[in-house]
Symmetry: C2
């Protein structure tokens, strides 16, 4: 690669924990963050949980000179909370709202109101087209018994679909955000294997930060021990992922995280740790790249595809669990609704029969009558809304499962086309930046 | 193009009007449709308004031998109603649900429950990768005063975004469906100009069908005259659009529509007319294509970009109108909610004061008390739900407007980079199949 041109790119990602009036020291933390971003002048800043547009606008004003290009993605009732700031021109943006994102009646968890999504910004970095993605997946409130797991798996499925299908024309792809998934969690494996995205923490030549790259740590004063249980020290759930193209190789030279505090400040930027990755882009002539790619492609493709089929099958199973739960809930809602209706009829009958038959005065105590009628209407309305919501949830889960089944079938078909013996299938490593997705069409 | 290889592709599209028990002769029409599709063996069949999965499954069974590959897209409460049948293998599918799609409280219009979306299927046709899209946009119930216009414009905006961003890796793109927009409607112009998609009705060498390519006609026995007012003969709102790539040129050799009846049958397939387009794909070597493309690109790009800026500005204005209406509705909901709350407090005060002050018996008639309390609760609940829904609508409208503003800015920047004089800018026609989108990045 003697002719390769090299470009450096600093990418920053942080879940800002920006709930006005509820998150501790919210405005002070935004001020600290703004100062730091102004000083450090990263090329690309990816923020999550910027729940108030006012905070985005004040950051935008502060960073106008160093990050003249920015976009705030809007979704849901108070979201999406996603924002991008960039030194490089943003040509175009696009937002994909996940079809599943928790439940509105779980208001104390709030995820549904955030309208979780993945935002995309198309940047030009010199002559290169970069697709930058920022996302925030549904939180995990209880690892042992996580009712949101099927939703998060569907979100990861839709995220990989979105990235795979929208990045074909890009020279490089960067995804930053709070995935709310541990490195080896199903959704994370699905995302990385199907898109070919690489984890900057695993790829970096040099790392400075929390142990094991953790981004939610016990040492952070905003974190209570209970939040990270059963893990003592913390979790790694925030990521900067990247991949190149036949035209560009990407290397991660350095990566760092904050460590639960900020020097000369009384508290950290957020309850999450901030991530910074220093990427080096090496552009080269397509002909060089093509030959590199071909060299590798026939060597490990079968292994990748087989791995992806396994992961997808696992994901499908998880979606089926979600389907089962949603069906049960919808059945319960239907039954309760029918009982509410029966109760209403019964009440009306009890009230009407003596009145009609005997012409006597109403014997039913009025207070009880109205209270009971009110209760019946409340039951009917609640179960009706629940039924509608659960039907929509079922449709989305079924839709994801259908898509997974089709994709698995297609990949299995592809596998049948590979020669039987693949002795080096997963041993040889592709040249950096050329990690293809297992979905790449064969030619 | 002496070396060009030629492939023929028959594409069929129909809005099936498939509401079980409500649409007239629904099951008989599906049977007729299945027989015809089995006989005609189109390469790709794109259906809309297949509201029941059972109908999809019975079609799938009937067409198993001629269309072994199919997919049904699920969305919303009863939707999305979109289905694809194909002779060629479907490798992968993806669904984008529009962020705006009417109102749940407009239940008699039903669009919200359909979860309108655009479905994508990635097919391999020989060595070519084809991205096939099927969609159905929000209906237009009153052309003069259309309250859904901003929603449909945002749907058209999201549709063009989705197609543009997901089709970079495709050799050819086909979109079929019921756009619920006339040929010169804002959303239609936006879609065609930004994606470079071509209308098969306008491009076809030979046409056989209704006057002006109409697809909703007065001669169809399922159509009442009122539905198509103020147009006497009918409207053209269903389309098959296509575009090629540097590798493939597409020509439409023949196009036809049904004409309101089906020979030897008592009624037509649907209230919409069915469309069939015969496309010819000519693949050639990339080098040939590249030079063709370059030749054309510098010639008409500025004109295209300027046109797109105008259309987007128009779309932005329409979205702003929608924003204004949604804001007003949200304000009304808030005010009504506050009044409901005040009424409840007033009632409680009237009931409580004499009781507390005088220790006397309750003077408030019990029936009125409970009726009024019930009314207050109903007002509070309704306005609360409306407030939440309107806030989400506002977020989506604002999001679309932000994206449009950014895209317009970026295109204007691009325009500034063009040489001032562009005398031939819109006169010269590009070679078939090479219609680029005005968004194509400059290189």
């Amino acid at each position: 690669m003697a002719n390769a041109e090299s470009v450096r790119l600093q990418v920053f990602s942080l879940n800002c924990w920006g709930i006005r009036y509820l998150s501790k020291h919210c405005s002070q933390r935004y001020a600290m963050l703004g100062d730091m971003l102004y000083k450090k002048e990263h090329d690309i800043v990816l923020l999550q949980e910027v729940w108030s547009e006012k905070d985005y606008l004040s950051l935008k004003q502060k960073l106008a000179s160093c990050h003249p290009h920015s976009h705030y993605f809007k979704s849901g009732v108070i979201g999406s909370g996603l924002a991008v700031f960039s030194k490089h021109r943003i040509h175009d943006t696009f937002l994909y709202r996940y079809s599943l994102n928790g439940y509105p009646y779980m208001a104390h968890h709030g995820d549904w109101f955030g309208g979780k999504a993945v935002g995309m910004a198309v940047l030009s970095i010199g002559s290169l087209i970069a697709n930058i993605y920022v996302t925030h997946l549904h939180a995990e409130y209880c690892r042992d018994k996580d009712p949101y797991l099927p939703h998060r798996v569907v979100q990861a499925w839709e995220l990989q679909q979105f990235i795979r299908h929208t990045s074909a024309g890009a020279d490089l792809v960067i995804l930053g955000g709070d995935l709310n998934m541990h490195p080896q969690d199903l959704g994370n494996r699905l995302l990385r294997t199907s898109t070919g995205l690489r984890d900057s923490y695993l790829e970096t030549a040099k790392f400075d930060g929390c142990e094991d790259g953790m981004t939610l740590i016990a040492d952070n004063p905003f974190i209570s021990k209970n939040e990270i249980l059963p893990f003592e020290k913390g979790l790694r759930i925030d990521y900067i992922l990247y991949k190149g193209s036949p035209k560009v190789n990407i290397y991660c030279d350095y990566m760092c995280t904050t460590k639960g505090s900020v020097p000369d400040h009384p508290f950290p930027y957020s309850d999450h740790e901030a991530l910074t990755a220093e990427l080096r882009l090496e552009t080269h002539t397509p002909s060089e790249a093509q030959s590199d790619k071909k060299l590798w492609k026939h060597d490990s493709a079968a292994g990748k595809v087989a791995e992806l089929v396994d992961i997808m099958t696992e994901a499908r199973t998880e979606v089926k669990v979600g389907l089962h739960c949603a069906e049960r809930m919808r059945y319960t809602a239907t039954r309760t609704g029918v009982m509410g209706l029966a109760l209403l009829f019964l009440e009306l009958a009890i009230a009407a029969v003596p009145y009609l038959a005997l012409g006597a005065e109403q014997p039913f105590p009025l207070t009880s009558f109205y209270m009971l009628a009110g209760l019946c209407f409340a039951i009917l309305l609640t179960t009706f809304l629940l039924y509608i919501f659960k039907t929509m949830e079922l449709k989305s889960l079924q839709g994801a499962e259908d898509q997974m089944r089709l994709a698995i079938g297609s990949l299995q078909e592809k596998l049948r086309g590979f020669p039987l013996a693949q002795p080096h299938s997963t041993q040889r490593r592709p040249p950096e930046g050329l990690e293809p997705s297992a979905f790449d069409p064969e030619e």
